[in-house]
């Protein structure tokens, strides 16, 4: 046929190979971990790493979170000189720490300091799950305890964003005792009238969930975040049954009375600002 000569229509359909589908150019593009759609990283960042399509909340790196939450140039970092050693001489531990330091640009899995949210001053600790799964070793415990003490000293609130798989096995019982240390610090802070807000982000499990994450005055969480004490696999092996898909999600914890509120990331700043303003002397007027 004559029109075939001029037509530009392809006679065959091109189906991208399985590999091409999953190969996302590093940096420029980002695949949503929830719906697997591909977005420009820039677009995803503008949306605070929340998928525009399925609302999946991707983990935020500590500094990303601080920058999106606190008023511009309002924050200062505390105790950044604290660094992890290898107290038990655990085989391979130093290499693992070094690798994650290079990967994340952080010295450890938490950034602490103070800043303002809508002009209201608060101390903070922001955990980063990309550093050894946010597992809690001595440095994380020490930085958090110091930040709480500092907040007590300065009589300002303390907000913590938790993101942790639990204890840092390579530090043995030193790791477990960070739960006790931070709890004593929280108790002192709380007795002095300090306001503590805990925001649980994905994942908040094990020792972190069973200590400071669960003893704030207010417990918030991001949608879909995994929150719980024991891991799903361990529980399934123990009780020999399959757990529902929504088990240990933020929504599950809300339903079971463990959270005050699940807050979308785009509403987090305003929610925290409001909570802070409820606790300011003179209420709204100040």
């Amino acid at each position: 046929m004559l029109k075939d000569l001029f037509g530009k229509r392809k006679r065959y359909a091109s189906i991208p190979s399985e590999q091409a589908k999953t190969d996302v150019p590093e940096g420029l593009m980002q695949k949503c971990s929830g719906c697997h759609k591909i977005y420009y990283r820039k677009e995803m960042n503008k949306n605070l790493q929340v998928c525009p399509h399925c609302d999946y909340h991707h983990p935020l790196q500590a500094w990303q979170r601080i920058e999106t939450l606190f008023d511009e140039a309002s924050f200062e970092e505390w105790d950044k000189q604290l660094s992890t050693g290898n107290p038990l001489n655990f085989p391979g531990y130093e290499e693992k720490i070094k690798k994650d330091q290079e990967k994340t640009g952080l010295r450890e899995g938490v950034v602490t300091g103070k800043g303002t949210i809508d002009g209201k001053e608060t101390a903070f600790a922001v955990m980063d799950s990309s550093f050894r799964m946010g597992s809690m070793g001595s440095v994380i415990g020490e930085k958090i305890a110091r930040a709480i003490e500092q907040a007590k000293e300065e009589k300002i609130p303390f907000i913590i964003f938790t993101a942790s798989g639990g204890a840092r096995m390579q530090e043995g019982l030193l790791s477990l005792m960070q739960m006790a240390k931070t709890s004593v610090a929280v108790k002192r802070f709380s007795d002095a009238g300090g306001l503590m807000i805990s925001v649980m982000t994905h994942p908040t499990t094990g020792g972190v969930s069973a200590s400071f994450a669960s003893i704030g005055d207010y417990h918030l969480a991001e949608p879909g975040a995994l929150i719980g004490f024991a891991g799903r696999r361990i529980i399934e092996q123990t009780i020999r049954e399959k757990l529902p898909d929504d088990f240990q999600t933020a929504e599950f914890q809300l339903k079971h009375g463990q959270l005050d509120k699940v807050v979308h990331r785009s509403d987090m700043k305003s929610t925290l600002a409001l909570l802070l303003s409820f606790h300011q002397k003179g209420g709204k007027e100040s």
């Binding site: 992890t84 790791s175 477990l176 739960m179 006790a180 069973a210 200590s211 669960s214």
Partner: protein, 318 residues
């Protein structure tokens, strides 16, 4: 007959041989006294060699020994008039934790401890000493009561861990443990915690914040079970022995790390070999600790507790 662990088999074999020779000597005309004496000397050396050089994994076996004395055994030995109380007042009663009142040297104390069973039936009833949230909440209820009536608290720690179950999660296992940590941090009465068997992670710590942390010589205290650590770190639970060594979970390791205050000796071969002797070792240390702690004012007590936990950790300042 006590259950024999692998590492103590040479001792048991030799003991059997000596007993056999003794029987033979008394039943027949042949006198083997000389041989028996030689073997007994060898036994003493062997016992010294084996029990004096217990490896971390040996202690794990001793800490988990089915005949190892439990909280209720020590309560019977150390206190008088013990009366057990039940329930958390909001959900139920957890038999994996026992709580109650007793007299210690004529003075009232609150006693709390994990409780395992010694046989399958009791273990099922007590959930192998692995508490649910209501267990921690029952414990907390009694701790607050101890505070109200100004009596010291003595906690016995002996658990593989808090129970990893569906219902436990639904009822807030994390919150229950976390709540105990923060409340124990501020209780205005002396708290003595003794690890008598396995100190398993957060489930142990939920009864473990106090002024004096004691450990029996062959007990263990760990952030995760050696099997759990091995399967995560090396993807193979059979590396448990290696994990037990790397994680430093024995009383001696933890004393060196400054995480516990005192090690309580055990009778040769472990606590289960002689409960009376074990209880008397324990009694001595508890008595001394209580006397010391009772001298402090409430402010001093709480300040010392903070100082104690504040120091725990190891880091570098660059």
């Amino acid at each position: 007959m006590k259950q024999v662990l692998d590492f103590e088999k040479p001792i048991v074999n030799l003991k059997e041989k000596i007993a056999e020779l003794k029987r033979f000597t008394s039943d027949s005309d042949i006198d083997l006294t000389e041989e028996i004496r030689t073997l007994e000397k060898r036994l003493a050396v062997l016992e010294e060699d084996i029990y004096g050089n217990l490896q971390p994994w040996d202690r794990v076996q001793l800490a988990r020994h089915p005949e190892r004395p439990t909280t209720l055994d020590y309560i019977e030995q150390l206190f008088t008039d013990f009366i057990e109380f039940h329930g958390d007042r909001s959900f139920g009663d957890d038999a994996a934790i026992v709580t109650g009142l007793a007299f210690y040297k004529e003075k009232p104390v609150t006693v709390i401890g994990h409780q395992r069973g010694k046989d399958t039936k009791e273990n099922i009833r007590r959930n192998f000493g692995m508490p649910h949230p209501e267990g921690y909440r029952k414990a907390l209820r009694h701790m607050k009561q101890a505070e109200k009536f100004s009596r010291p608290i003595i906690c016995f720690i002996d658990t593989k861990g808090a129970y990893p179950g569906k219902a436990a999660e639904e009822r807030g296992q994390s919150e229950a443990i976390a709540r105990n940590l923060i409340e124990m941090a501020g209780l205005t009465v002396p708290i003595i915690c003794v690890v008598i068997g396995e100190g398993g992670s957060g489930g142990a710590l939920g009864l473990g914040v106090g002024d004096e942390i004691l450990m029996l010589e062959n007990s263990t205290y760990s952030v995760i079970s050696p099997e759990g650590a091995a399967s995560i770190l090396w993807k193979d639970a059979s590396y448990a022995q290696q994990a037990a060594e790397s994680m430093q979970i024995t009383a001696y390791d933890l004393k060196k790390l400054g995480l516990i205050d005192q090690i309580i000796p055990e009778p040769k071969g472990g606590a289960h070999r002689d409960l009376n002797q074990q209880a008397s070792y324990l009694n001595e240390v508890i008595d001394h600790s209580l006397r010391t702690l009772e001298k402090y004012s409430i402010e001093e007590l709480l300040e010392k507790r903070w100082e104690k936990y504040k120091k725990m950790g190891s880091y570098q300042i660059l």
